[in-house]
């Protein structure tokens, strides 16, 4: 009996050891699989499939009739073998132009305002603070209308200029706070070193403070730039044929509501992703230089 018992114990312990080993191995394989890029791709595709299915179900319940094949001609096409821009691409290019101008101007406004707020000049600080609070605490749409309907006739500027001005003044107010934070983040020792070397205020900002500040504020500044691109959709309210306005026009002609809006959204996405990518490449370059 004792011999048989011993055998049984031996058999049992060996068996359970084997099971444990297999479970461990399985778990390890599972972890490796879950961490691989392949599994990430699969997970992403599953998510997209689920969202697509949800959308499909939703529109089916509304009785929506998808007609994606009619969309491409509104983006671009070939006529007589020549490339022609559709209204959406035209709109995209205008959105580009407005955003680019506004971006440059907004950063100028932001930088100047930040410098004024830090300056020793009392009037400078008052003006900068007044601009910031006024612009930041009123809606962009109201500012745009005010500029276009009230100031533009007085100043004799067109709708494009008014739109760019409104957008850059608005985003510039936010950018100024980002710039100010960046400038203040440069330690006092850097200022003192520059001072004791005899560098003037301009040179100190130009060579010491701003290069360090801008590196640190690139991430929030990028967010602000992305905001600007999306906020530029508001210029459609003063009859500028940007991407949003063109989308509305196409929809009123074709009733492809969902298809066109999704396309418009995708085009905005392309612009902003390109923008973010360019900045992150820049950021990496700067980091290498550190």
């Amino acid at each position: 009996m004792s011999q048989a018992g011993a055998l049984a114990v031996e058999f049992n312990s060996g068996y359970s050891k084997m099971i444990q080993y297999d479970a461990k191995q399985l778990r390890r394989i599972w972890f490796v699989l879950m961490r691989s890029t392949a599994s990430d791709v699969v997970k992403f595709l599953l998510l997209v499939a689920a969202l697509t299915w949800l959308m499909y179900r939703g529109t089916e319940m509304m009785g929506y009739h998808w007609q994606w094949h009619r969309v491409p001609r509104y983006i671009a096409g070939f006529e007589d073998g020549r490339f022609t821009r559709g209204p959406l691409l035209d709109g995209l290019l205008l959105t580009f132009r407005i955003s680019a101008w506004s971006l440059v101007l907004a950063f100028c406004f932001g930088l100047v305002t930040a410098l004024l707020r830090i300056s020793n000049s009392f009037m400078g600080r008052v003006i900068a603070r007044g601009y910031l609070e006024l612009i930041r605490n009123t809606p962009l749409l109201v500012q745009l209308f005010f500029l276009y309907f009230v100031l533009a006739p007085v100043l004799g500027i067109g709708r494009f200029t008014s739109a760019v001005l409104a957008l850059s003044l608005f985003e510039g107010a936010y950018a100024s706070e980002i710039f100010r934070a960046g400038i203040l983040s440069v330690t006092r020792g850097q200022w003192e070193a520059a001072y004791s070397l005899g560098l003037g205020t301009f040179h100190t900002y130009r060579y010491i403070v701003l290069p360090q500040a801008i590196r640190r504020i690139l991430p929030p500044l990028t967010s602000q730039a992305v905001s600007l691109v999306k906020d530029s959709a508001l210029v459609s309210t003063v009859a500028i044929y940007d991407l949003t306005m063109q989308g509305q026009v196409v929809i009123s002609e074709t009733f492809l509501t969902f298809e066109i809006w999704f396309t418009v959204a995708a085009l905005y996405l392309v612009v902003t992703v390109v923008l973010s990518t360019v900045v992150s490449v820049m950021e990496n370059r700067l980091r290498v230089a550190d």
């Binding site: 001072y195 005899g198 560098l199 360090q212």
Partner: protein, 254 residues
């Protein structure tokens, strides 16, 4: 003779400080009205307990801190509200900080070149030549293209000294230049400072390194509560300090 006096004629005292006092906005009285004169090419070491006003005194000498009353004259130029005078003094008075304060986004070469090019308006080539010479003097020419973060503390401080020297200042101020360094790096920085002293640079040095004071200083000033408690040669301080306060302080740091 008059013309000579105007552009840098020989003045025995390069720094003349008359009754300066300074109270910080938080009510701390950092300097309580004291006077001193510093001879050209001499090395003055300032010692004393922290909070005694040593650093404030040093920072007043190049205008980093404003004085409330009294006067400071550097090589005949008064440090007053006149912006031109102030700029002139900033150019002629170099400073080395406890925390190095190198510009982290620039290479060593660019750090040392910057003021030569923007303030002294040298060409890039002229500036680089001077820089390489100075880097050789502080024994790190091979680091010219490195960034400050790639250097040790001692190396960074030596670059900071080269950077200050690049302006060819008449006076150099050292604000606890070795206090932030690891012990084994203090020596290399002190060596550079000693060489500088032997080359005839006028130096005002706030430090706790009594060995340095003994070896190269012409005069030691002991400061507490914003004023001078005692001054004399290093030998005087080591062999027979007069004031009780000085004896106590020295017994603590030696």
């Amino acid at each position: 003779m008059d013309a000579l006096m105007k552009d840098g004629a020989y003045r025995e005292y390069i720094i003349e400080v008359e009754g300066i006092s300074k109270t910080f906005p938080n009510g701390v009285r950092a300097l309580t009205g004291f006077s001193t004169r510093i001879r050209r090419s001499s090395v003055v070491v300032v010692i004393g307990p922290s909070g005694g006003g040593k650093s404030t005194f040093l920072r007043c000498l190049n205008g980093l801190e404003e004085i409330d009353s009294g006067s400071i004259v550097i090589d005949g130029i008064p440090l007053d509200d006149n912006k031109k005078n102030r700029l002139e003094i900033r150019k002629e008075v170099g400073m080395v900080f406890q925390s190095f304060n190198l510009f982290p986004h620039m290479t060593v070469l660019e750090n040392v070149n910057l003021a030569q090019r923007r303030v002294r308006r040298k060409t890039k080539q002229e500036a680089t030549e001077t820089t390489m010479e100075l880097l050789k003097k502080v024994d790190i020419p091979e680091k010219a293209n490195s960034y400050p973060s790639q250097l040790s503390g001692g190396q960074q401080q030596r670059v900071a000294i080269a950077r200050a020297r690049a302006m060819m200042p008449k006076v150099m101020l050292f604000d606890e230049a070795t206090s932030a360094l690891d012990p084994e790096m203090i020596g290399e920085v002190l060596d550079v400072m000693k060489t500088l002293a032997r080359e005839g640079m006028t130096m005002v040095v706030v430090t706790h390194e009594m060995g340095f004071a003994r070896e190269v200083s012409d005069r030691v000033i002991f400061m507490e509560n914003g004023g001078i408690v005692e001054e004399g040669t290093a030998e005087h301080f080591f062999s027979n300090p007069q004031e009780e306060r000085t004896k106590l302080f020295l017994s603590q740091i030696l």
